[in-house]
Subunit: 355 residues, 2 copies
């Protein structure tokens, strides 16, 4: 168990690492951020920084020596680096969760094994596999790389057989997974935290709206039945227990209203964009929950303070900061990123809604 | 007007500077902390640090060159240092507010000039002054240094004429002020912010309970009539306007219930311990309000989220962190200070209260 004053290590220096560091600071912990990019947004709020490649064993060793426990802020950290660190210091969540979340095939197989619904899927290692998968699953479908995809990257729709060739080329020799299209009514996510002692606490199920494959808006309460919400939370809990997960994570679901069905789409072994509303809309926020879990401390209350929404500020949208600040009830969060490139997450706005 | 990405400078590296830096980070601003102590708690959450004496002109000049605007986190920064910086960069609040707040006599004279009630008081520059003041004001009374007092330091009660000699010695040749005892029912404070454009926004009047001259508990709503609350806020506003103040500040009052009277006790030209409940109990917190004012941005809503309380963790009380974390609704804030010396402010706990 960590004590106030201890230093934690965070792999990754993006906005999630930055908001984790801010939460840690509130609890009297200091942070050492490890990231390859010299201008990482999290560096500005950390007591110590390492700029090094994730595969630099010497840098990893020095980093581990200076901290009491380690976490990561995104799922594309190499599993080998996490294994290397696990031999030196507690790493939460560990390599196991990372490994599953980095592999769309393993992710879906886990969900199925735990009794959850997923889209139909098949592994695609070759052009012949793809044809067989299309035959088995039917069209339309979507071909995805099993690894390193996010925000719609590494995906290609296959509407007719003629699309197969181009979609297969996208894999560039890597492994793929063909998934059936799911005709869903809405997307929701469960953001939850599992403590070191196995305690589990979920935030209210969150409804998510994407634009151009990037999260645009999250809101609570989600428009789902209690039964569907309860099932989604139960599935998230089973996933966390199966992975012996410690920390905050998210499971994204498709919802089919008519049948009250929730379908696992993706698992994120980290704090999640769809949980950003908790910073202003819940008693404890997802970042503090993660830090508490990492420290071996009890979790805080996840009670929502009311109806809440979060809207992402993507690319040039962050230039609206003046107008947002002029709305005295808008809670503006900016990540300190220099360049507002298209598609880049620059910040978000939380609001507690009336009624 | 500042823009996201800009760097601000903060004189002082204690918990107030630390919480200001955390608020600045949320808004996409980075901080440069200037403090004489190498182990300043605010350093851990800042992008840049200067360890130097407040009277080191070279260090002040380098500091000013690296930031867009400057503020201070406590009122014992030398006025000359602030004047020096004002010639180089915008400093908010400026030297004027600091000068008045550093001088108990000037503070009380300002309050009186603005039509507010204060304790009876008289300047004490000599032993003869003290005798005359005791004759004029009566006993019991309290002799205070006009400068550099806080948390009950630099004060001596005079219950009978026999106490006068010892009390006078406490002044050590410095200027003093004799104040009459006020028989009050409770202490309250107004924490408020004045923006660069003159906009003014007060948080709910806060009731304060001290132990050993150190704030123990603050709570809202305060047990005061609307008339008394309204008068306190109006006085705070007049003070801010008279000082052309920009930023968050606090005015402490004594309240006499029977006559609905509020009596100005002290002005703090900075974010204030009695405003810490706003971190979890108001739409916008006092730290963010100060940063918004410093940046020339509009203020946020000060609406309270409900009944709230803040309890300070003084010295060894911070060792109760395990028990506090076990209360899932308690919002623990720790300042990252190494040694829990008696009387040292180590952290605080906020709670939203039921009903």
């Amino acid at each position: 168990m960590l004590a106030p004053g201890d230093r934690i290590g965070i792999l990754g220096g993006g906005q999630l690492g930055r908001m984790l560091a801010l939460a840690a600071a509130r609890l009297g912990l200091s942070c050492h951020i490890y990231a390859p990019e010299a201008d990482s947004p999290a560096f500005d709020v950390a007591a110590a920084r390492t700029v090094a490649d994730y595969r630099d064993d010497d840098a990893l060793r020095r980093f581990a020596a200076e901290v009491k426990a380690i976490t990561y802020e995104f799922e594309n950290v190499p599993v080998e680096s996490v294994r290397f660190l696990e031999a030196l210091k507690p790493v939460r969540p560990g390599a196991k969760a990372l490994e599953v979340a980095q592999d769309r095939l393993a992710e879906k197989e886990l969900a199925r094994r735990l009794g959850a619904r997923t889209a139909e899927f098949a592994a695609v290692d070759s052009r012949a596999d793809l044809d067989a998968a299309i035959k088995a699953i039917g069209l339309p479908a979507v071909l995805k790389t099993t690894r390193l995809g996010y925000d719609g990257k590494g995906q290609a729709k296959i509407l007719t057989a003629a699309d197969a060739e181009g979609a297969f080329a996208m894999l560039r020799g890597g492994q793929g997974i063909l998934e059936s299209f799911v005709a869903f009514d809405r997307e929701v996510s469960v953001v939850a935290t599992r403590a070191a002692d196995g305690t589990f606490a979920a935030f209210d199920v969150t409804e998510n709206e994407h634009r151009n494959h990037i999260l645009h808006r999250s809101s609570v309460p989600a428009r789902v039945s209690s039964a569907a919400a309860g099932e989604a939370i139960a599935i998230a809990r089973r996933i966390a227990e199966a992975l012996d997960y410690v920390g905050t994570f998210a499971v994204e679901f498709f919802v089919i209203d008519a049948t009250n069905t929730v379908i696992v789409n993706e698992i994120a072994p980290r704090v999640h964009n769809s949980g950003h509303w908790t910073m202003d809309g819940a008693v404890t926020c997802q970042f503090e929950q993660h830090i508490r879990a990492l420290a071996g401390w009890p979790l805080g209350a996840t009670t929502a303070l009311g109806k809440a929404e979060m809207i992402n500020l993507i690319g040039a949208e962050a230039q609206d900061w003046r107008a947002i600040l002029a709305d005295s009830h808008a809670r503006l969060h900016l990540y300190g990123k220099g360049e507002a490139r298209p598609g880049r997450k620059m910040g978000h706005v939380n609001r507690l809604l009336q009624g």
